[in-house]
């Protein structure tokens, strides 16, 4: 099914962005996920974000691991190269791809099995390395493709569809990302497009490791009473700390929130994140405060969403490594090979 192309028929009045692409041009193959899957909403949000940001689709590299979430890159941006790697190892492959060509936009899509269990190490290290990427975990707290086992993000005390209680502590990927030095950290909910789309846009515009934990309920295996990742549970316990708008530099700055409640954050590329505070005293530029805020709210059973932390002046892995501005995969033979004369000098020093 996944290779099916969508019909090329399109509505004549579909609006094109300044690149001449309609939203349709950002779509991919037909999804093979279950009807109502939260992941399809995340794919739709990614498509909308890329369309609105007017990103050239072929300049986006879609990377994923293995699992339901990792299938979704096939369902978006059909003119982009995609790489469905091996389980839990998307971060290293994305890191290598980014080293080879720093000019592309790297979108890593993973799940809670892929990133919090088998790939926990790679998740951690790609973030602490500051790889310039948007790393989205479609978090449903369950192994969907293998039919319903607990994942490492399942909350302690939550109940599986078969009625088994989870006794292991759940991993909070957002808190982890904060501790690991991610320079953009957000949590959202696949059922809240209004919040999710601007967050994805802001993450795509961020230079550095941008992490979004997107709670994305599994309609088949984790949407029942006793689950803490069901649509109903998340809606009831969601506490959004802010609402954001993202304006790229070419947009006119337009904010329609109450004066005094809005903060503007200018990112490296000139894009402006306009933050509308919903929780009093929440400051997304304070990493330590964000960590303790999350812990305090978790104790109350609340799921904090929104832009939790951003460092607009972040540096990325290429800055740390001091690599040239051009992509390494574009270097010519002469730029790579030192030549016979230097080799002869070296030979001489080895006698």
């Amino acid at each position: 099914m996944t290779y099916l192309l969508k019909p090329q028929l399109r509505h004549p009045k579909l609006a094109a962005n300044s690149l001449g692409f309609t939203r349709r041009d950002y779509e991919g193959s037909v999804s093979t996920l279950c009807a109502g899957c939260g992941h399809d909403s995340v794919s739709a949000a990614v498509i909308q974000a890329c369309y609105e940001l007017e990103l050239p689709p072929h300049r986006i590299a879609k990377m994923s691991g293995i699992g339901c979430s990792s299938k979704t890159p096939d369902y978006m941006m059909g003119n982009s190269h995609g790489f469905n790697t091996v389980h839990g190892r998307m971060p290293s492959v994305l890191t290598g791809a980014n080293l080879a060509n720093r000019d592309l936009i790297y979108l890593g899509i993973s799940g809670d099995g892929d990133s919090a269990s088998i790939g926990f190490g790679q998740f951690a290290h790609s973030i602490r390395r500051g790889v310039n990427m948007t790393y989205i975990v479609e978090n449903n707290g369950v192994y969907g493709l293998t039919k319903g086992q607990f994942s490492a993000t399942s909350d302690k005390g939550s109940k599986s569809k078969k009625g088994v209680i989870n006794h292991d502590e759940g991993i909070d990927l957002v808190s982890m990302a904060l501790q690991l030095g991610a320079t953009f950290v957000a949590r959202s909910f696949s059922g809240d497009k209004a919040q999710l789309i601007p967050l994805i846009k802001a993450a795509l515009q961020h230079r550095g490791a941008a992490f979004i934990d997107c709670i994305s309920p599994c309609v088949q295996f984790n949407n029942h009473n006793g689950s803490t990742k069901s649509f109903d549970y998340v809606r009831e316990h969601n506490e959004a700390v802010n609402a954001i708008d993202l304006m790229v530099s070419r947009d006119a700055i337009h904010v329609d929130y109450e004066p005094g409640s809005t903060t503007a954050v200018t990112q490296h590329d000139g894009s402006v994140i306009s933050l509308h505070k919903l929780a009093r005293h929440y400051d997304p530029s304070d990493r330590a405060a964000a960590i303790s805020f999350l812990a305090a709210r978790k104790a109350l059973g609340e799921i904090v969403t929104g832009l939790l932390f951003v460092d607009p002046a972040a540096q990325d892995m290429h800055d740390s490594l001091g690599t040239i501005d051009r992509p390494l995969n574009a270097l010519t033979d002469a730029e790579l090979t030192p030549g016979a004369r230097l080799l002869e000098a070296l030979n001489k020093s080895l006698r």
Partner: protein, 609 residues
């Protein structure tokens, strides 16, 4: 007792304590002899430890150019009380024992069929130096000084080397030269020269002296590698470190920016993941590791094979299995690398014989991996990788261009060339690829480790899967014609016997062939340089009734590959196996092959009866 008398043909072994600073003094000793125009083969035998355990350094002085280990010791420099007994026992009858005579030792600690050469090294150093660290470090130079007198070594050559070594710390030059002369003067006043002598010769030529890891790293630079991801593991660590250094020297722009990227990954799985990601995206990338790392990388190696992504892995082999003998040498990863990962897979291996070939194969591996769109292994071992070898100088033709393989660019796609990522257009099994981001509407594809059709679309159709697997076999046949061909050396007389060997066995094998010829055992010899085997390898086997396969592992891994890939009758391939962790010696090969020949002088006659 008759002492051995040898000029430019003997073995000196230094027994030291790890971390005592002996390594640089011993290396100084070897290089001084090289500067006299006499070839040396030198090998470190060291523990997996930073300080305190026994370590040895064996120098073979060989005007004849036999750079492999000979076996046996003519002069033992016994500086380690922990290993005294075994060190003394290892000396060939008629040999020499050089030792620190500060503290008297009972006669039972010596042998009466060797010559004792005592120098009170500790007393000399304690008299001269106040600091304990100085006493320790200079003791090593003092014994080099004493040996220089005893063996007749050229003093200016040693002084010159010290001046080069401490170029940036001139104070140390004078101090070291002082220590050198203290040892030399003591020996001149109290001892007589030995009957082991070094005399100036002209047998080194323009050869260079370098470690294989360094050479391989340089090969990666010349081969155009821009991305290196690695995880520290003995004995491969110095390869990544050398790559860093060479890149800093040769690939830094005037503004200080780097035309390379090196990542020390969190483990070997991430290392190969980075390499696969970079290879997918059109950069030349490699990792370097040893056996345990290869075990960890299996899944990605299979992805590289099946999704057809270029990658280069330098495997500096050590003693296995498991953690095995981390600081000892073996050729025991062949099977694990050749058939790495689950499912039906096979991967090309390059088998360098010395640092020169490490450079050459280190560079060509990147051309092959781009051309064949798969993982290429360069199989070093600890002996080649971590020891300095005397070898041919590096060569590079400035007219040589890097082969990027079959890549469609924007013009190709725009011009309407048909693109199918896994389509065999040319009949050689190798499809075309595109780099991500090439064209807005053409040439994109989804890379996956699952089965797919020639246009990279997911497919579980049996016939589609089989067609793809068959194409991969066609590609494998193409690989046979592209990898380095074997090198044949025929015996002086026609013979039905042959021998196949590879890698670091080469110098010992060459010497053994000469010795065997002297004993009337004639062998045609073939040095295998790559897997898949060229047809020349199978032709060679077909032309001989019996072919000995000499290698450094327990199970005859090259032999297994030959039997498996060539459908060879195992009885025709007697195994000669050395796997105690030390480099194979000429004496071992001679004795093993002689024994096999004695047991069955006419190999096929039994089969015929």
């Amino acid at each position: 007792m008759q002492s051995v008398t040898r000029i430019n043909d003997f073995v000196v072994k230094f027994a030291n304590v790890n971390g005592s600073g002996s390594a640089s003094a011993n290396s100084l000793f070897a290089k001084s002899i090289l500067r006299m125009g006499v070839p040396v083969g030198a090998r470190n035998i060291f523990p997996s430890n930073i300080q305190g355990l026994p370590t040895w350094y064996e120098v073979r002085v060989t005007e004849a150019g036999n750079l492999g280990r000979r076996g046996g010791v003519d002069l033992m420099v016994a500086m380690n009380p922990q290993t005294w007994d075994r060190d003394v026992a290892e000396i060939d009858p008629g040999g020499f024992l050089f030792y620190d005579s500060t503290k008297p030792l009972p006669p039972s600690k010596f042998r009466d069929d060797i010559t004792l050469v005592g120098v009170p090294l500790t007393a000399l150093c304690n008299g001269k130096y106040a600091l304990p660290r100085e006493r320790q470090l200079f003791k090593n130079i003092v014994y080099v000084g004493a040996l220089s007198f005893l063996l007749g070594m050229d003093v200016p050559a040693i002084e010159q080397l010290l001046a080069e070594q401490f170029e940036s710390k001139p104070k140390l030059i004078a101090a070291n030269i002082d220590a050198l002369h203290m040892g030399r003067n003591y020996a001149a006043e109290h001892l007589r020269p030995l009957s082991l002598r070094v005399e100036k010769a002209d047998q080194v030529g323009d050869r260079i002296y370098i470690e294989g890891n360094m050479a391989a790293a340089l090969g990666a630079v010349y081969g155009g590698a821009t991305v290196c991801a690695w995880y520290p593991i003995t004995p491969s660590t110095s390869l990544a470190e050398a790559f860093m250094q060479f890149c800093e020297d040769y690939r830094t722009d005037d503004d200080g920016k780097s035309r390379y990227a090196i990542v020390q990954a969190e483990d070997e799985i991430a290392s190969i993941g980075v390499v696969v990601g970079a290879g997918w995206n059109g950069a030349r990338a490699f990792t370097c590791t040893s056996g345990p790392g290869i075990s960890l990388m299996q899944e990605f190696i299979g992805l590289s094979y099946f999704a057809e992504i270029p990658a280069v892995i330098f495997d500096v082999q050590r003693g296995g299995p498991s953690t095995g003998m981390p600081t000892r040498t073996q050729q025991s990863d062949l099977l694990g690398a050749a058939y790495a990962s689950h499912g039906d897979t096979k991967h090309p291996l390059l088998l360098p014989k010395d640092p020169s070939e490490c450079f050459e194969m280190g560079a060509v591996a990147f051309d092959l991996s781009d051309r064949l769109q798969t993982t290429i292994f360069v199989m070093l071992d600890l002996d080649i990788g971590m020891n300095e070898w005397l070898c041919e100088p590096f060569e590079w033709d400035d007219g040589r261009s890097l082969d990027r393989g079959k890549v469609m660019n924007w013009q190709d796609l725009e011009g309407g060339r048909e693109f199918g990522r896994y389509l065999d257009v040319d009949g050689d099994g190798i499809p075309y690829r595109t780099y991500p981001g090439t064209h807005p509407s053409k040439g994109s594809y989804f890379t996956r480790g699952t089965s797919r059709n020639p246009y990279a679309k997911y497919s579980e159709e049996g016939s589609v899967y089989v067609a793809n697997m068959q194409r991969l076999l066609r590609k494998w046949d193409t690989a046979k014609t592209l990898v380095p061909a074997p090198i044949r050396r025929d015996a002086a007389e026609p013979t039905a016997d042959g021998v196949i060997y590879f890698g670091s066995t080469t110098p010992a094998m060459n010497e053994a062939l000469t010795v065997l010829e002297g004993k009337g055992i004639h062998l045609d010899a073939l040095r295998v340089r790559a897997f898949p085997f060229s047809n020349l390898v199978m032709d060679f086997i077909a032309q001989h009734q019996r072919v000995f396969v000499v290698e450094q592992n327990r199970d005859g891994q090259l032999r297994t590959l030959l039997i498996n890939e060539g459908q060879i009758d195992p009885a025709r391939l007697p195994a000669v196996l050395h796997y105690d962790g030390t480099p194979i010696t000429a004496r071992f090969i001679v004795s093993a092959i002689s024994r096999l020949v004695d047991e069955a002088p006419h190999p096929m006659s039994q089969a015929a009866e």
